[in-house]
Amino acid sequence: MITATQQLESYLESFSEFEKLAAGHDLPWLRKLRRDAFARFCEVGFPTTHDEDWRFTNVSAIAQTPFRLTRNGRARLSQQELEPYRVPGVACQLVFVNGCFARELSLLGKLPDGVKVSSLAWEISSNPGAIEAHFGRYLDIRRDAFGALNTAFVEDGAFVHIPRGTLVEEPICLLFVSTGDDAPSMSHPRNLIVAEENSQATFGEDYVSLGGGGAAFCNTVTELVAGDHTVLSHYMIEREHEQAFNISTLRIQQGRSANVVSHSVLLGGALVRNNVHPLLAGEGGECLINGLFIGNGHQHLDNYMLVEHASPRCGSRQFYNGILDGHAHGVFHGRIIVHKDAQKTDAKQTNRNLLLSDDAQIDTKPQLEIYADDVKCTHGATIGQIEGDALFYLRSRGIDEVSARKLLLFAFASECLDRMKQGPVRKYVEGLINQYLFQMANSASTGNRREDTGRNWEEIG
């Protein structure tokens, strides 16, 4: 067991080293940002289950592990190894290895005039003025240790800028590969996406593990600035290996009548926490937060939403479906804050869960804080099992048990898939989910099944 002081010393050592050499170390504003953030991290410390926002998720495994920055993993990867992670039909795919941009592995296609997709580190070195206006302006790190840590170690990630009125038809994708190391390694990718007024685009973030299976900690933040009247989709896919820790935050700043859709698909990792935090700052904004989490073994998948209605006539929808098997533990924590002036708010959240084993667990928690008086807020949650009746019905028509199980799981997952717009990323995600659910259905014959026994199934006679 290492003490809190030892933990901080380990991070302090990493930080002092990092700060000297990091891109933009000579920029006063950036240096200050990093230092302030690090001080904030030291002050706040890692959260415990006494923090309301972390009640169901214990991060002591992260706190206890002496993670070090990895800065040289990229040489080991080949184009061929990345083949399974390529998404057909996208505009570009930027590849980051252990948090650092790998140009030689990235696919850079043709983008509409004026659209900029590049590495944050490169922007910091060559054109810091372009990012200063937005950088770190939206993420609130006052009480957020992981956000503070990410900001302290900020250096690389993606920078995307979409000019006013531009329509980007093909998705802009980012692939984050952690290669693992003998020693526990960490990375802190930071993405800044600025979509100006009346632009439209789709973004994808995909987190994967390759190579070594050592403990890896990926602590990532994306700031998405959705200008007035923008129409944007964002996908987050997490499928790292079973020793990976992944903490991610998507901070969305929505302008007037901006329409933003966020899809989170959590499939991998030992401990995963996905924060989605839209602030509906302009009147008439719409936000859909759609999520699917599929866990097995001892995975812990935590979905945390903070939806802030700060302007009148905004709508938000949260829909999350979870499928949990083995000893997996899922969390849905949907917090909605309706500020005083946000009249005519229409907010809704729904969380539906399938527990496939007796040991799988879900904690689902709505948290509504309403300070306006003319609003509509609803929430609901369900927990169920694969129905014995449905399974028998399919089998009685000739469909074998594994296929029947898979069909039922897929039908449940489809509720989330159907909220994704047809396109390359959805197609890719669909294939991925199919693959995960097939494995899950296949392993179903072993272990402690949880299933409706059909007791209420008919009146005997």
């Binding site: 009685s396 000739g398 039922l408 006679g461």
Partner: protein, 256 residues
């Protein structure tokens, strides 16, 4: 040789004996009706034949097409040509009716070593069967049974039967809850499927359905035993006298 032969079948549910020694022979081309009051074990018999695993067979044998039916899983029984129309068809959100049926048909084709049927070939055949049951094509893209009315659910069962073309069809109280118009459509759908290669077992509480599907044999099931067997006239006699007389007879024959 009979298509189905049940010998001395005993079945327990929750440690309670429901079937207490059933003997029944059904040959291809025949229509049998099993009638009985509530709680007599009719549905249990249908479920066991469809291989619902929650029913414990404690003794007896069932041979189907020369094979041991009790050794089969539900999907194997289905692939071997057994079809049960459910008394309470199950709603399955998220799977379209058309997709479900094509998956089922292809699973059966695969088992029998036949080619898969693609959507292009499936659709015309499917439309034809829909017409037979006077069903709206829109129901096909809806989730299986979800939001269907009671009559639509029952018709959907018969539609599945028409597509899967079983050797042995078991209709478990398909008539219950149907108004007379829906009953006629369902009965016509079933009657159209009578042929010398196919056997049908109609499980019902009332005689009305048998006006439209005239059985070759009628069996009366009371308290887990077949107490009488006869021709179609037996159904009429039951309608007239009710089950009471036969229940009394059964009690008399085997004191509890």
């Amino acid at each position: 040789m009979s298509l189905l032969e049940i010998k001395n079948l005993h079945v327990k549910v929750d440690n309670h004996e429901i079937l207490k020694g059933i003997d029944l022979k059904v040959s291809a081309g025949e229509v049998h009706s099993i009638m009985g009051p509530n709680g007599s074990g009719k549905s249990t018999l249908a479920q066991v034949l469809a291989r619902r695993e929650t029913y414990a067979v404690t003794s007896g044998e069932v041979s189907y097409n020369g094979k041991d039916l009790l050794a089969m899983k539900p999907e194997e029984a289905a692939c071997e040509g057994i079809f049960m129309a459910f008394q309470y068809p199950v709603e399955i959100p998220g799977i379209s009716n058309a997709y479900f049926l094509r998956s089922a048909l292809n699973a059966i084709h695969k088992y029998r070593g036949l080619d898969e049927i693609d959507a292009m070939d499936f659709l015309p055949m499917f439309r034809e069967k829909l017409k037979l049951l006077d069903m709206d094509e829109k129901l096909m893209n809806r989730s299986v049974n979800e939001g269907f009315s009671g009559g639509e659910k029952k018709r959907n069962e018969i539609l599945q039967m028409a597509v899967l073309e079983p050797k042995l069809a078991i209709l478990d109280e398909t008539d219950s809850g149907l108004d007379i118009d829906a009953l006629k459509i369902v009965a016509q759908g079933v009657d159209a499927m009578r042929n010398p290669e196919r056997a049908i077992i109609v499980v019902t509480h009332y005689q009305r359905l048998l006006n439209y599907i005239i059985p070759d044999f009628v069996h009366v099931l009371v308290d887990g035993r077949i107490v009488r067997s006869g021709g179609p006239e037996l159904a009429l006699e039951l309608e007239e006298k009710g089950y009471g007389a036969m229940e009394a007879e059964a009690r008399h024959a085997t004191p509890a």
